[in-house]
């Protein structure tokens, strides 16, 4: 990067300096946006297995924006309602804004199926998971049935902190 103390400095060089500076800021801003993923999974359920619930608790160490909830399944039969829900652990719901954050679908039959819901539309529901608050990711079904695999994930993003 040319320095302003070279002699003489031209308007072009000054603009180059400015562009380099803004470019560095943009790069740092992008680097500061880190995506994270949490997963919860159920494998190889026999037909005699009870209705399943699998929970994964986690406590963010930084504020994290909720980007999407996703759910997929392999094998099994049709007519099973499977859900993935994000909850605040404990009795309180204020850090989940007292709302339900959920993705679900009813299986159609054998084979891979999936569904996901994004939460990045400014006019829709949005949520930031707060640092130090414990949340649960809960994967459930409503029917006793054999199923090869059910997989749920949550995609999160930390906001940029560098300048």
């Amino acid at each position: 990067m040319p320095t302003p103390f070279t002699s003489p400095i031209s308007a072009t060089e000054l603009q180059t300096n400015f562009d380099a500076h803004t470019s560095a800021l943009t790069t740092q801003a992008t680097e500061g946006q880190k995506y994270q993923q949490m997963e919860v999974e159920v494998d190889f359920l026999g037909s005699g297995t009870e209705i399943f619930t699998r929970t994964c608790d986690f406590t963010p160490q930084d504020d994290l924006e909720l980007i999407a909830l996703g759910l997929s399944k392999e094998g099994g039969v049709g007519g099973i309602l499977i859900s993935l829900e994000l909850k605040q652990q404990g009795d309180s719901t204020e850090y989940a804004l007292d709302k339900e954050w959920k993705v679900s679908f009813t299986t159609a039959g054998l084979g891979a199926e999936h569904s996901r819901t994004g939460f990045i539309d400014p006019t829709g529901d949005r949520l930031t998971l707060k640092r130090g608050v414990t949340y649960s990711l809960e994967l459930t079904s409503d029917t006793v049935a054999a199923i090869d695999r059910v997989y749920g994930f949550i995609l999160l993003k930390s906001r940029r902190r560098r300048r």
Binding site: P8, S10, D62, D63, E94, L97, P122, R131, S158, R159
Partner: protein
């Protein structure tokens, strides 16, 4: 006679960091209201965890006739630091909010107005309608969250609805929510309708009402869930409308008939806002029959008064300087509706039409280029005391400034004699200057101009100043008059 510009009524003038008088910095527009939208209110909140700042901007439909069909369509939009929208919250009201207040209680935010249901959210997260939350004290019953104006006080949210004060449960490590309001904490202050609510430097909750200004000391909070009604009257100042009181730099200011005054004590000094009674060559004279119909907002420099006059008045308390300010942006009327704050503390000015950073050497519609066609004119006006028996003839005005382009401004009784400034640029010029030990650079020097008149008058009224933001103006200007005219002046 020599006249000190610092003692004159000022417009678009600010003290430079070097304590000299100069033309105000430029307004650079960072954000524009959406098409057909008018900004109603705005504020910024910093996230205590990530240090990120979020800007909350409340706007509604500009078209007044749309209100008839119930589509004022007010919305609260949360923007990130680059004004990228993060959440648009539909207020679901058919009225343009007359006032919008907010309270931040640790990491929870309450946004309230008499014109829509109170909104609650988490700082850094989203907003939603505030629903009542049961109290952690099972012996008390939660009321519905009231409407009104709000303030954050001792980790509680306080909402004033008409003459009543609703104080929420405190937010503590043991629990408690700013959405929990119980009947024991509803207080009637006997002050009439409340139009302003603030927390002062000593931690007192202060309400501005039609019957005076009343304070509740911070110690009233110390008895547990229930707040003691220990109200004390501070002054008899009558507050008659929303947005007519503001807490700035530790003191409370309120609009009065003639201007604004300190209202946290009796007999507070009143600052008149009207311009002197004289014909103006540069912009209209600012005058209102009653300033209580205007608005006053707190800023980092002091109270800011604004109205429908198309200008705003900023009193810089630290610099002991005050000035009216106008904007050169097309269709912009400088109706201020609040301020925003950036992460590094810089304050942004919000008008009905946009958000502006207040720095740099030109007014523009973007941060770095697009200079406006109209020049920023820093002008000081004054009616000079002249002995009535003399009927002097004004002959010359001498004014100095350091601008290398743009005019030096001078006028007597509205007759202008401005001319291009003749300052010499001695600083660095991009593309021309060499950084060399043999070169000497120094700040631009003041250069004076003289304007000639032959105005016999009993009423000497001058305007002096310069164009271009950050131009330094000579604090002293000279008015030369000649002796008694053989005839009394007729026209002037």
């Amino acid at each position: 006679m020599k006249i000190n510009i610092a003692d004159m009524t000022q417009r678009n003038i600010r003290k430079l960091p070097s304590q000299e008088i100069g033309v105000r910095p430029g307004f650079r527009r960072l954000f524009s209201a959406g098409a057909g939208r008018t900004i109603v209110s705005a504020f910024s909140v910093k996230n205590i965890h990530s240090e990120e700042v979020r800007h909350y901007i409340v706007d509604s439909a500009t078209d007044e006739t749309a209100f008839v069909s119930g589509s004022a369509d007010p919305k609260i939009t949360i923007y990130d630091e680059n004004f990228v929208p993060w959440q648009v919250y539909d207020i679901r009201s058919n009225k343009r909010p007359s006032v919008v207040t907010h309270a931040v209680i640790i990491d929870q935010i309450m946004i309230s107005s008499p014109d829509f249901d109170t909104v609650w959210g988490i700082v850094g997260s989203a907003l939603t309608r505030a629903e009542k939350v049961d109290s952690v004290n099972p012996a008390t019953t939660a009321l519905d969250v009231p409407r009104g104006i709000c303030a954050a006080w001792t980790h509680r949210c306080v909402i004033a609805d008409g003459p009543n004060i609703y104080v929420s449960d405190g937010v503590t490590l043991q629990g408690g929510s700013p959405r929990t309001f119980v009947a024991f904490n509803v207080q009637a202050v006997s002050a009439g309708p409340i139009y302003g609510m603030h927390v002062t430097a000593g931690g007192s909750l202060v309400v501005c009402a039609t019957e005076g200004v009343f304070a509740l000391p911070e110690s009233a909070n110390a008895s547990g869930q229930i707040v003691l009604p220990d109200w004390q009257k501070l002054s008899d100042h009558q507050t008659l409308s929303y947005n007519s009181s503001a807490h700035a730099l530790g003191r409370l200011y309120g609009l009065t008939r003639r201007g604004f005054a300190l209202i946290d004590q009796e007999m507070g000094t009143e600052v008149p806002l009207d311009d002197p009674y004289q014909p103006r060559g540069y912009g209209r004279r600012v005058q209102r029959p009653d300033w209580r119909e205007g608005r006053i907002y707190p800023t980092q420099r002091g109270p800011l008064c604004t109205d429908e006059v198309g200008a705003f008045h900023l009193a810089d308390i630290h610099e002991s300087q005050r000035s009216w300010h106008t904007m050169t942006h097309d269709q912009e009327e400088a109706k201020v509706r609040g301020t925003l704050r950036q992460r590094d503390g810089d304050e942004l000015l919000v008008t009905e039409q946009g958000v502006y950073r207040w720095e740099g050497n030109f007014d523009g519609v973007t941060a770095l280029d697009s200079e406006n066609a109209d020049e920023v004119q820093g002008v000081a006006a004054h009616t000079v005391q002249a002995p009535p028996e003399s009927s002097p003839t004004v002959r010359y005005l001498h004014v100095g400034a350091d601008n290398t382009s743009g005019n030096i401004l001078m006028a007597h009784r509205g007759t202008k004699r401005d001319a291009p400034g003749s300052g010499t640029q001695r600083g660095l010029v991009i593309g021309t200057s060499s950084w060399d030990t043999g070169e000497t650079y120094m700040p631009p020097a003041l250069r004076s101009l003289r304007g000639a008149y032959a105005d016999p008058t009993d009423d000497v009224a001058i305007e002096v100043g310069a164009e271009k933001p950050l131009t330094r103006i000579n604090t002293a200007c000279e008015v030369q008059v000649e002796g008694i005219d053989v005839q009394r002046p007729t026209g002037r």
